[in-house]
Subunit: 499 residues, 2 copies
């Protein structure tokens, strides 16, 4: 096989794979947003079949020698070599799984998601519990095919954040605990910030109008490359180049929920949208890791979106949309309120300070569950215990406890820790960005996209070309250091609460 | 091959085919409603590839002996024999086309649709003209593979309405012309009905709210089996069993456009939704012909939706939604206005009386185009001439003329005549339904679905089991007779205009 023959076969394979990926992505977005419920049995069966078709292409044995040739030949362009290495890594992970098992798992994951939705509607974990158990067993079985010596949970962590292990996360979370738990304690004892005005009735129709007329244009998320819909649990997905879909959820009595979820998801959207077009249609046009992805979304949501200059640009129009609710609330008071910290029950509603504790809890639960120290039957109890222990709150209902997150419903274990990691990455990027550009001025002048451009230049454009650690070094000039995150939180919350 | 072996192979083939059909349908619905424009090049290329995959299954030569066995064996269930016959009919039409031509046509049709959209945005036929020419040449080529002795346009007509030919449609349209042209003349000379209040500003947000809160529930189109979105040219599509998607278009200064397009599309939706579940996942679960489909949509739109009792049930809530615009308009005046007849330019905005003339014009254009009497270069002129001749109107712009319909953009020639045919079918059904049930009472009492149930029992449930002519005989006790349509229009418009 010549290099040219290998490249031809490789390009055809990538194209076929991308066609199925696009179809499955559109089907999935549709399912999560608008698809009528009564069609689910038929839809899910066919979707599982198409997943199997994609799997057959992905694991086609004839591609392995092609990938090996492209990786091993010095004459091959280094970007293509990197591409081929990443494809090979994915290939090795999944080609060991029998196709019928893969299809059965896809089906089970869909049913499990549906059961999770139903359990939420009924506020009853017992509806979801057997499916969750099924997902855990499925993952044990599927990972088992890899015959790796590493502990199962460590393999999961490494899938979402290549290069990490339990020791890494233990160190990371220990550092967070050490400084954040006392800080949270101090904040809880300080004079509380009154954010009750945010819990008035804000009609959803008006929230939607403000989001589409003001917020999305400010964020630069325009209809030519993106579309925002609504769903139970907000997410971002891609169907093909220049086509990104985000979702949000409007809550009448919690107006900021949709705002910050929108800023968050559009942060994800910008990441992959900004990858260099020369990687179009390849595995390099995705984000490098979940932690890096979350760093971009949480950067936008918190470091930009909860800042004073962000709201200096946007608050007047929000006040005009909700005059009765916000007329008497000055800008300063609004910004303080959207940053108020309170030990709560819901991860997605958590403030920046307590958020990593929600993640820590999930990390300990997952680690215990797969490490054997938490029996499955005690998972809900363990959840509630850890919330009591770390955040001092009692979980009054399943929806406010173990049923709140979508992730476990389709077997995504090991993802949660990347949220905290991403937040910490973001702090380091933020520190560096502020040294280079006048962030506040841009936000205030409605030039949000200038900040996005900094991220594009230093992070986004690389896509999956370099490992996360290398991107961190390239963009900030030093290795990852969670100290930036802890400093940022201490400084911000000490100032907010006059500590 | 035993019957059981044939059935197994057949069921597997149908299932695989339905999976691709579902994927392509969801991709297409997505594309026509929300997909960001900048992704179209990537999306279209991949979609065309997937169409090719579907084509390969559809035309798999190994299915032909299976179909032949199922058709020829007396031991096979008669429903399955009918299924197999219909699949065979489709197979014979397309298996002669080389796959690469089929894929290239799919791509060209997508580009042509995009060009049509762009041409509309610029009100400039010249942007679309070369694509339209391309679609005509494509169809000539693709039909050429069938090597049929029948004239090309006749083959097209027969594809949309099996059993029809040019002679049939000539007779049909001659009968319409004979009685409708003088009637239209009389109506144009009568005292006009003032419908100017319908052209006030009706904010789109409020139209949407009324549609989702009042109209769709009244029509029985609920979220468990359907979803309505927005698009440039309203349509209805299915993705799988119990999952139907409709679209509409809101116009601020023409509030009734979205209302009647909604009722129309939901009429299509009900047809296939009501097919007997024993035909799920088969070709029998679709409508039998385009004419029969349009008969159901136009039945709902006009025979039910423009009637007095329909609005007796719904007008108050519409008035409450638009108090400033409708407060002083009594119900009787509103219903007269939504039935006002005026020779106009736009087919979809046409009243019931002039509507078939818009179709007649398209029929004559298509027949002339494919028969050779109208050169392609003179198509726009011929369009404008026929509008002058039959409706006495001058076409002031391309958007109000040749660019108004989506159909030709993807090469759907021969479809238009089924709109007039469907309207005429509907009149015969309406006549019979009124003999059997108290239509007006049900509409007035918000029991719209009782009327739908009559359609289900007599038409919908059969799906594609019987030819249209047989369904007409079964449901009305006699063969198709356009006299019912002409009587209905004469009676209705004589009454409305005090002729």
């Amino acid at each position: 096989m010549t290099i040219q023959e290998a490249l031809d076969q490789y390009n055809s394979w990538k194209f076929r794979l991308s066609a199925y990926e696009m179809a499955l992505s559109i089907i999935n977005i549709d399912r999560m947003t608008v698809a009528p419920s009564d069609g689910s049995a038929y839809r899910d069966e066919r979707t599982a079949y198409l997943s199997g078709e994609k799997f057959s292409i992905e694991t086609d044995p004839s591609i392995l020698p092609v990938l090996d040739l492209l990786i091993g030949q010095p004459g091959v362009d280094s970007d293509i070599r990197r591409e081929a290495e990443l494809y090979r890594r994915e290939f090795m992970k999944i080609h060991v799984i029998p196709k019928e098992e893969y299809v059965a798992f896809s089906k089970a994951a869909t049913s499990s998601y549906d059961a999770w939705l139903k359990a939420r509607q009924n506020n009853d974990y017992s509806i979801f519990e057997p499916h969750l158990k099924g997902m855990i067993e499925w993952q044990k079985k599927l990972y088992g095919y890899r015959k790796s010596d590493r502990p199962l949970y460590e393999q999961m962590l490494d899938d979402y954040e290549p290069g990490t292990d339990i020791a890494f996360y233990d160190r990371f979370f220990d550092r967070l605990k050490e400084r954040l738990i006392p800080l949270i304690q101090k904040v809880q004892n300080a004079e509380p910030i009154d954010d009750s005005f945010l819990k008035q009735s804000f009609p959803e129709e008006l929230q939607k109008k403000w989001t589409s007329d003001v917020l999305l244009p400010y964020l630069g998320f325009t209809k030519n490359w993106g579309y925002q819909n609504e769903t139970e649990h907000p997410f971002t997905a891609w169907t093909c180049e220049n086509d990104c879909r985000t979702t949000t959820r409007y809550e009448e009595y919690n107006m900021t929920a949709a705002i910050f979820s929108t800023i968050h998801e559009v942060g994800h959207a910008w990441y992959e949208h900004n990858v260099s077009p020369k990687f179009d249609g390849t595995i390099l046009s995705t984000g490098i890791s979940s932690g890096m992805h979350e760093s971009q979304s949480r950067f936008c949501e918190n470091y930009l979106g909860r800042s004073f200059p962000f709201w200096k640009a946007n608050y007047t129009s929000l006040q005009n949309t909700f005059p009765d609710q916000l007329r008497d609330i000055p800008l300063e008071q609004f910004v303080r309120a959207v940053n108020a910290s309170k030990c709560g029950l819901i991860r997605t509603a958590a403030d920046e300070l307590t958020y990593p504790v929600h993640i820590l809890i999930r990390y300990e639960l997952e680690k215990g569950l797969f490490g054997g120290s938490i029996p499955f039957e005690q998972l809900k109890e363990a959840w509630n215990d850890l919330y009591r222990q770390y955040l001092g709150v009692e979980v009054p209902s399943d929806c406010e406890g173990i049923l709140q997150d979508v992730h476990w419903s389709d077997g995504s274990f090991g993802y949660f820790p990347t949220y905290a990691l991403g937040s910490a990455f973001a702090a380091q990027f933020y520190h560096r960005m502020r040294e280079e550009i006048a962030v506040d001025n841009y936000l205030e002048r409605s030039e949000y996209c200038t900040c996005i451009d900094w991220l594009k230049t230093h992070i986004h454009r690389y896509g999956a070309l370099y490992p996360a650690a290398k991107i961190m070094e390239l963009s900030t000039g030093e290795p990852f250091n969670p100290g930036y995150y802890l400093d940022y939180l201490e400084e911000k919350y000490s100032r907010l609460y006059y500590l």
